[in-house]
Amino acid sequence: MKLINKNHVVKKMPTRLAVNSICKGLFFLATLFGLLVLAILFYRIFTQGIGHLNFDFFQNFASRRPEEAGVKAALIGSIWLMAVVTPVSLLLGVGTAIYLEEYARKNWITSFIKLNISNLAGVPSIVFGLLGLTVFVRALALDRSVLAAGLTMSLLVLPVIIVAAQEAIRSVPRDLREASYGMGATKWQTILKVVLPAAIPGILTGGILALSRAIGETAPLVVVGIPLFIAFLPQSVMDTFTVLPMQIYNWTSRPQEEFQQVAAAGIIVLLALLILMNSIAVIIRNKFQKRY
């Protein structure tokens, strides 16, 4: 007796192929789901908010009357926040990445630092807010200032920048370093003149992605106590302020229907800012496409 009945196999083949096609279709539909959601989301927000998006919207401060509410304080506040987060997080993040990739010996301290960074990346953002509230706002008495919020946010995005910078530094080919050492360059000269310039596109791309995370985050700032409603601009990093996502949160949670349109208009501004930043990242990535 034959172990395999050929007829049986042949008979079953069309069914198996059909199941294959059906599942392929299902997988494809699932993939389309993400696309669909994105389309609906953009469409909804655009149609709700476009009516409010005019010159006055950028000129006005927040207001109790929806028709007068504007995004000025929040937009400028977001830029202030970036002015703190960018230097702090890049300095700490790139410094850490250089240390880990170029100087760190293989010992328990190094593996502890690495484990720590990967766990830090998974800590909920609101917990960073509790840290910022305790350390920056209260212990260091920075109050609800741009500085307190900026430092909190820098710590939040630090793991993202570290990992991106580590990858960028690691991808600089070994033979470029060897060429530099071979000329009598010291380690730091090699890092500064060869490794970092070659890694800069990767670092910048990662940095911009991290900053766009910082610009869209709300939860830690809520906990730090940044006001939801403000009608003046900060004059220094020690002043209090608000940012776009906080302002949007404020408008979203108001019961009046009209404020939802104002919120949508605010979201358009926020998304436009994010798209702008991401386009810059893409341009950098393409311009400095890997050449080695």
Binding site: R177, E178, G184, A185
Partner: protein, 277 residues
């Protein structure tokens, strides 16, 4: 142009100069290796190496793959230290100072001893920036001097005519052979005393290879050159002395002519007649 660069400062030659008898002409020793052993972890990669190398000569190192050629040449400028877990014993004297002594600053050593690698490795910068990299990290900032160095080095590496009109273009636009000559120019820019070359032509086409071989012949007038090659014809064509390595040992070291025409050791003969390797 009346501003000129002198060649590298040559140490005075020792011995009797006799125009008619080359063999009596004694050359200054550049490198003196004695009882060198090297381990990668447990792997004993170099065993009791004893070799002397001389000024204004081309010394070739030949041998089958994995016999320790790269390891040895990288020890000569302590590039080997980039590999973790390497241990050495013995001495390598460069101009009478033991370079394996940790008080010898590697940066000083590598300023005197340049290196050209197997794969061309220009920096992703302009041709000009590539050449001035060495002088700049050593503190030379005067633009006029740098311009002169660039011209002199590129001429020295026989690539000036090909690139003089595009000095500020990216070096990655050059062909492989041109890139390798640019790397040689980059090396010449700090006027080293010795140039180490680890299979500099193995990634190149035959015509580029020929150009580099001619260049090496030219360069030996001003520099001492130590070149690793797995191409025996190349060693025969361009070198004055040849060392044959096998399994981390020097089997035979003498004048290139002797090695190729009248080897002492059976294993050398087997290798150069192509019986293994």
């Amino acid at each position: 142009m009346n501003m000129t660069l002198t060649g590298p400062k040559k140490a005075p030659t020792v011995g009797i100069e006799n125009e008619n008898a080359d063999s009596v002409f004694l050359k200054e020793t550049v490198y003196e290796t004695s009882d060198l052993n090297l381990w990668y972890g447990e792997n004993h990669a170099l065993k009791n190496i004893n070799l002397d190398m001389y000024q204004n000569e081309v010394t070739a190192i030949i041998g089958p793959s994995g016999c320790g050629k790269s390891t040895y040449i990288k020890t000569l400028n302590r590039m080997i230290e980039l590999v973790p877990d390497v241990k050495t014993t013995g001495q390598i004297k460069y101009r009478n100072r033991n370079i394996l002594d940790q008080s010898y600053k590697v940066e000083d050593l590598r300023t005197q001893v340049g290196m050209v690698f197997q794969k061309p490795n220009p920096f992703p910068k302009s041709i000009y920036e590539n050449v001035i990299y060495g002088p700049k990290i050593h503190g030379i900032k005067n633009k006029k001097i740098l311009d002169q160095i660039v011209e002199k080095s590129l001429k020295g590496a026989a690539i000036w005519d090909e690139v003089k009109d595009r000095l500020h273009e990216n070096a990655y636009g050059l062909s492989g052979g041109q890139q390798q000559r640019l790397c040689i120019a980059r090396c010449l820019a700090i006027e080293p005393d010795v140039i180490l070359m680890d299979e500099p032509t193995s990634a190149l086409d035959p015509i580029s290879t020929l150009k580099i071989e001619e260049l090496v012949q030219e360069l030996k007038k001003d520099f001492s050159i130590i070149i690793v090659t797995h191409n025996m014809q190349q060693a025969a064509r361009i070198s004055d002395k040849t060392a044959f390595f096998l399994n981390g040992e020097v089997i035979e070291y003498s004048d290139t002519n002797t090695i190729f025409s009248n080897p002492n050791d059976k294993r050398t003969e087997d290798y150069i007649t192509g019986r293994f390797g």
